[in-house]
């Protein structure tokens, strides 16, 4: 069963709707203790990094998610949920993240001068290497992205796929059993649903 972490930010229902549509057993997890019963978890998220991290810490989710990762159980961070997996963010000040992946989250605006921000829309990805999460997904597939900050991974080897917006940035990452999608698979039509299905099939 996939647990969808509810820590009070954004639209979890669309993640649940897409898993329901795919007939994938899932449950919205409202209490940190509920994580233990899950085989896999999805960490969704929209909004600001600092506020989201405060909620994960205050509600007691942060520690449970870190323990879940230590047990090598699969985690998928979506959008802000992927950014939270990193060490820290420079979104309006400096904030500590979950520290499951080495690297930091940086603003596009410093690097991207003449393009509209937030980045909102469909962008195509370049696949860097094969992985079970990318089964059936090829270079050129497009996904729905919504963000103003991007992840800068310390190790390039964890970047399964990249996208471009002025600069190249990680679209999909994997470090062991910790996965992240910068885009919203639950909002990316057939290609996005395929990613969720692949995540469900991971051992």
């Amino acid at each position: 069963m996939i647990g969808i972490i509810n820590y009070g930010v954004g639209n979890l229902q669309s993640v649940k709707n897409s898993l329901d549509f795919l007939n994938i057993p899932n449950k919205i997890i409202k209490k940190p203790s509920g994580i233990t019963a899950c085989d896999k978890i999805i960490l969704p998220g929209v909004g600001a990094f600092g506020a989201a991290m405060d909620r994960l810490n205050n509600l007691g989710f942060a520690k449970k998610i870190q323990e879940f990762a230590d047990k090598k159980k699969p985690i998928l961070g979506i959008c802000l949920g992927m950014q939270l997996l990193f060490d820290k963010s420079e979104e309006y000040g400096s904030h500590q993240g979950l520290g499951l992946i080495k690297g930091k989250v940086l603003p596009f605006r410093k690097k991207v001068k003449n393009l509209p921000l937030p980045l909102i829309g469909w962008n195509d990805i370049t696949k860097n290497k094969p992985a079970p999460l990318l089964d059936g997904i090829e270079t050129g597939a497009s996904f729905y992205f919504v963000h103003s900050f991007y992840c800068k991974s310390a190790a390039a080897s964890i970047i399964l796929a990249s996208a471009k917006y002025g600069i190249s940035f990680p679209a999909i990452i994997q470090q062991g059993t910790v996965y992240g999608c910068q885009f919203h698979p639950e909002k990316s039509q057939t290609a996005g649903l395929k990613i969720l299905e692949n995540f469900h099939k991971l051992c």
């Binding site: 909004g47 829309g121 469909w122 497009s142 963000h147 103003s148 039509q189």
Partner: protein
């Protein structure tokens, strides 16, 4: 590379989809959820819903036409979000942060503020702080007066006297994340987009701009996309009344080597 979005806009009045012309003529054309389902099957980029009900009454009476009843906008959003795996934007009648939360918690990814933002600009900041700028879209209805685009509110009926450029700048500073620009003069007239104004708006702001109003034939999309680097091109009537217009528009835009999905 980021694609330009092609976005159908559905106007909901008392729970039914209607056709709009000059912001005043409304003809019922169908069921909200069935339409959403049809668009989802075409793999569309995004859907925008604008609720133009004057009174909060959502009873669908056309049961004989396989039309189901919805008693609230939350109910409508909930039903649509179950069958649509694409970004969903809802607007119309949003006046308070509770109105914003109600829509997002029922499954909307973004909301649009129009009159509500103009009457209470703090609402923009409240929405952006709670759900992020990316979820806070400002819908602007305008008319050209003395060669300048002027903001109109209340279903396009009240002339605020404010310049569109000035209002966009204020919205940007307050935390808005996107602009949905509608030409009242062009609504339902099918005589092409207001390319001149859209071009000036796109140049004037760092926010993504979605332009709406005036699409009468598929070439109108091509014309706008070639001339202005808009983030999104939106249209209502053409997608309802022209057979397979969405997939045909995409084919045409790609044939013209324009950057669409």
């Amino acid at each position: 590379m980021l694609k330009t979005r092609l976005i159908p806009v559905l106007y909901i009045k008392n729970g039914l989809i209607v056709r709009s012309e000059g912001f005043s003529y409304h003809q019922n054309i169908g069921n909200v959820v069935n339409e959403a389902h049809r668009y989802n099957e075409w793999g569309i980029d995004e859907l925008i819903y604008i609720d133009i009900s004057r009174e909060k009454y959502y009873d669908l009476r056309r049961d004989d036409h396989n039309v189901k009843s919805y008693n609230s906008i939350g109910n409508i959003i909930d039903e649509i979000a179950k069958v649509c795996f694409m970004p969903l934007t809802f607007g119309g009648g949003i006046r308070t942060i509770d109105d914003v939360s109600y829509r997002i918690e029922n499954g909307a990814d973004k909301i649009t503020l129009n009159t509500g933002a103009f009457e209470n600009p703090k609402l923009i900041t409240q929405a952006a702080e709670k759900y992020g700028s990316q979820a806070t879209v400002i819908s602007i209805d305008y008319k050209i007066i003395d060669d300048q685009p002027v903001v109109f509110t209340n279903f396009g009926q009240i002339n605020t006297g404010k310049s569109v450029f000035k209002w966009i700048k204020e919205c940007e500073d307050l935390g808005a994340g996107e602009i949905f620009l509608n030409s009242i003069d062009r609504d339902g007239r099918a005589n092409g987009y207001d390319i001149e104004t859209i071009g000036k708006v796109v140049t004037s702001t760092k926010l993504p701009v979605i332009a709406c109003g005036g699409a009468g034939e598929l070439n109108d999309f091509v014309d706008l996309a070639k001339k202005v680097p808009v983030s999104g091109i939106a249209a209502g009537n053409i997608f309802h009344f022209t057979e397979l217009s969405y997939p045909r528009a995409k084919t045409l835009l790609k044939k013209e080597k324009l950057n669409f999905r």
